[in-house]
Symmetry: D3
Subunit: 115 residues, 6 copies
Amino acid sequence: MGKIEEFNEYRSRMNERILSSDNLVIKRFFNLDTNAYAPGRLDVRTKEMIGLASSMVLRCDDCIKYHIGKCVETGLSPEEIEEVFSIALLVGGSIVIPHLRRAVEYLDEFKQQSS
Amino acid sequence: MGKIEEFNEYRSRMNERILSSDNLVIKRFFNLDTNAYAPGRLDVRTKEMIGLASSMVLRCDDCIKYHIGKCVETGLSPEEIEEVFSIALLVGGSIVIPHLRRAVEYLDEFKQQSS
Amino acid sequence: MGKIEEFNEYRSRMNERILSSDNLVIKRFFNLDTNAYAPGRLDVRTKEMIGLASSMVLRCDDCIKYHIGKCVETGLSPEEIEEVFSIALLVGGSIVIPHLRRAVEYLDEFKQQSS
Amino acid sequence: MGKIEEFNEYRSRMNERILSSDNLVIKRFFNLDTNAYAPGRLDVRTKEMIGLASSMVLRCDDCIKYHIGKCVETGLSPEEIEEVFSIALLVGGSIVIPHLRRAVEYLDEFKQQSS
Amino acid sequence: MGKIEEFNEYRSRMNERILSSDNLVIKRFFNLDTNAYAPGRLDVRTKEMIGLASSMVLRCDDCIKYHIGKCVETGLSPEEIEEVFSIALLVGGSIVIPHLRRAVEYLDEFKQQSS
Amino acid sequence: MGKIEEFNEYRSRMNERILSSDNLVIKRFFNLDTNAYAPGRLDVRTKEMIGLASSMVLRCDDCIKYHIGKCVETGLSPEEIEEVFSIALLVGGSIVIPHLRRAVEYLDEFKQQSS
């Protein structure tokens, strides 16, 4: 199983586990999270880039991976995604670099997959 | 002097003061900061929304104000800007709310100015 | 108008302003925020202490003020509230100290009010 | 060796290693850390919930694991612990979700152990 | 009263207020905070620069002000202090810039005072 | 391959990969990062200690590892490096402890290597 599948599998499995509990606040938060990225005044592509940059400045590897997947899905090119990275790097500083390394490595997995 | 002018005046004055010093790393960082938001693979509008959301999840009031000004300048409507806010709120959590209050108040200043 | 009233007035006014907009994600987030502190498996007192400590380690002055008000309302003594502060200080480090100063000052306002 | 034992073993071994050095500030900090969670005006259960929520909003996996263990020890039920999670999720935002996944997985280990 | 005196007065007054309470953990934390910057293997000058940079990347204005005062006291020149700023700016990113503006403004107060 | 080599190898490989892309902002940021730690008004040793403490309070394991390596290279003793750790621990709070454990473990690798 590749890195992308591994990430998606763990994420899906644990999300299901979490939603199987009876905590309403958590369930509604997950629901709201889905709604926030649905098409509205802004299109999905823009929203996913915003989600990606926010994840990067907050330095959350799993969130970065998730939004890279979504950005690729909406048809953004690697060069466009790297431009999102560049803004996040500038805003968040050199402390972002280790996350940038892992992000670029993960993005490269998508390139290999599609080639 | 209104809130917008006050913010811009202090920001310009202190940026000038900082750039008058002889620290090369700081000067080049400021220069790079300007370049990062220049049109590239992504347009300025998208970049400013990314900058705004990143500033909001990192809870930096002055950065939020600056990017609100830029978002308004690129022609984004208050409703579109609020949608950027909504994603940042969800990503960053309730801790973002006090910054959201000040951001909405600042955005309202632009509406009053243009009416 | 005292510091407590001033804080509450601005907070209420801007929350109303925010909820008057048509952004559903923001509205639902505010609603969820209210629900999270409602009595459940844990009582309100415990939840407010958790909210206070979380606000303090994340260094959000307005959130700290809000939860101090709520903690006082649920009948917690100043000494109990200070014990919440002490854990937050240890978890968050000396960077929390300026927020602790303002928190203690704000808590003292409640003491003066009730005396 | 299960996940809980593995975590505890590494934690104990390295804490001992750290305390074997001659740095007084570090030693006294560790000592103070222990004191902060001792029974005082607030009981240990409340303090551990505060420690857990603070760790979650600051997104520190090891700290979360440690306080989950302590919360279980003080007799808190999985449902009560999940309510602590829910407040931390709301305060800290969706960026907390990856840590929530690992926290729920770790909490489930305790359930399996006791069944 | 100038900005420096105002800051020092509030800080001293509230620290005294905090230390007048009976919370031992807080008192010992404050004590440890003083010890950490005492001369040891590293000299005070180096420690204060470390404290200043740490405060800046964590974006705590009051902490920055305090350590600027201490850095000036230990005889560091404005140019040396600005070099500490430059590293903090690079590590922490553009989100540090508003704090840098206020830091440079505060440092300039010391220059005016001594001239 | 030891932990130090493994870390350095991944870091070098991914940095090269990142610099092979055509994103100018990222390239210039990496360049600026190198310049910031070059000898200037402050010597390299002081700058590396500042970089290490900043990395620790921001809780970035890879950044910590990198600066530990550099601190060792400039001739700082383990005791001096531990004093940097102690300030970072106090500034950043108990949330830094898991990173301190891994930092001490990594620093011990250098001792074993040189013995």
